[in-house]
């Protein structure tokens, strides 16, 4: 369950990027999570919820955009998307391919409600 450690890192980044006094205004933290980032989206959301309970971030939640695993073939140039992590080009079956996406684990945006 390394999602707990990942959630702690997210909170730290949120705290570094939101101006002091506005943490309680955070509503959504936008993430890009690759299919092979090694993180399970539901466990991550759950961990975040547990750690932020009774803190200034208690009204915020993670919004996760799942990023598919995509390859470009160095041989035929074809683009392959698969959900099993195989490095094989779907067109020519060669494995000389480059990973384009699917391994990322990034925070992209933090969305705050205006202070009332």
């Amino acid at each position: 369950m390394h999602e707990l450690s990942v959630a702690r890192n997210i909170i730290e980044i949120v705290e570094q990027n939101v101006p002091k006094g506005e943490l309680s205004c955070v509503r959504e933290v936008m993430l890009k999570v690759g299919e092979f980032s090694g993180v399970v989206a539901d466990s991550l959301k759950f961990s975040y919820e547990i750690i932020t309970a009774d803190t200034e971030l208690q009204n915020s939640e993670l919004k996760i955009e799942a990023v598919p695993f995509r390859l470009r073939c160095n041989s035929c140039g074809g683009i392959t998307t698969n959900s099993c992590g195989l490095r094989e080009c779907a067109d020519c079956l060669k494995t000389d391919t480059e990973v384009l996406s699917g391994e990322e684990l990034k925070i992209t945006e933090i969305i705050l409600e205006d202070k009332s």
């Binding site: 390394h2 450690s5 993430l31 092979f36 980032s37 490095r87 684990l105 925070i107 933090i110 409600e113």
Partner: protein, 219 residues
């Protein structure tokens, strides 16, 4: 409503500390290995066989990562090499800052190769760079030939694969060619070794690969 654009890797802090570790270690000419596997695949046994084989030529230090107990550190220290134990207290993987702290207890000037045994877990350690030169995943033939397909992330992120317990091949339903081809489907660049830490088979090849990776000891 306002939006703050961040665009930051979630594990950026770990990555930065890992880079510091790497600079420090490579700066001292130390070759660092991070061994990962499921519990019981043979990480500690591989460390023991490696020390037995090359420990008299290469100054090896070891960091042992475990959830509980210093049993592995005790096993390895019987081979008269410096060992530092990290106990994660439930943590399912090592992180770069734990290794950074452990480096403080190692005499780096007297180390040529650092071996880090990660916590036994085929999932969680994959995303955490520790600052190593070589991440090696160990799998034993008793685990079955489908593991690279079921735990692809670990095989994607490793540079070498050690298939261990090959002495047990006659007794288990594991096709080693299938295992290798599955691993290469996930990571075509993997260097693959076959070993038995019990009989010693294959340890020579593994050891000449790692010593060859230290610039001072050409094979």
């Amino acid at each position: 409503m306002s939006i703050i654009t961040v665009e930051r890797k979630v594990l950026a802090k770990n990555d930065a500390i890992a880079m510091d570790n790497r600079d420090k270690l490579t700066g001292k000419g130390i070759f660092t290995i991070n061994i990962v596997s499921s519990p019981g695949s043979g990480k500690t046994s591989l460390v023991e066989r490696t020390i037995e084989k090359i420990g008299s030529r290469v100054a090896i230090s070891v960091i042992e990562g475990d959830v509980q107990t210093d049993l592995d550190a005790k096993r390895v220290s019987a081979y008269n090499v410096p060992v530092v134990q990290i106990i994660t207290n439930g943590g399912c993987h090592l992180e770069a800052n734990l290794v950074k702290d452990a480096l403080g207890s190692i005499d780096l000037a007297k180390t040529e190769m650092l071996i880090i045994e990660n916590v036994g877990n085929l999932v969680c350690p994959a995303g955490y760079d520790l600052g190593e030169d070589l991440k090696v995943v160990v799998i034993s033939v008793t685990e079955g030939d489908d593991k690279p397909l079921k735990y692809p992330k670990m095989f994607m992120n490793s540079k070498a694969l050690v298939i261990n317990k090959i002495d047990l091949l006659p007794y288990v339903n594991c096709k080693i060619d299938e295992l290798k081809s599955n691993a290469l489907k996930i990571n075509p660049e993997l260097k693959i070794f076959e070993t038995s830490c019990t009989s010693g088979e294959g340890i020579d090849k593994w050891c000449s690969f790692v010593t060859g990776s230290i610039k001072k000891y050409p094979v």
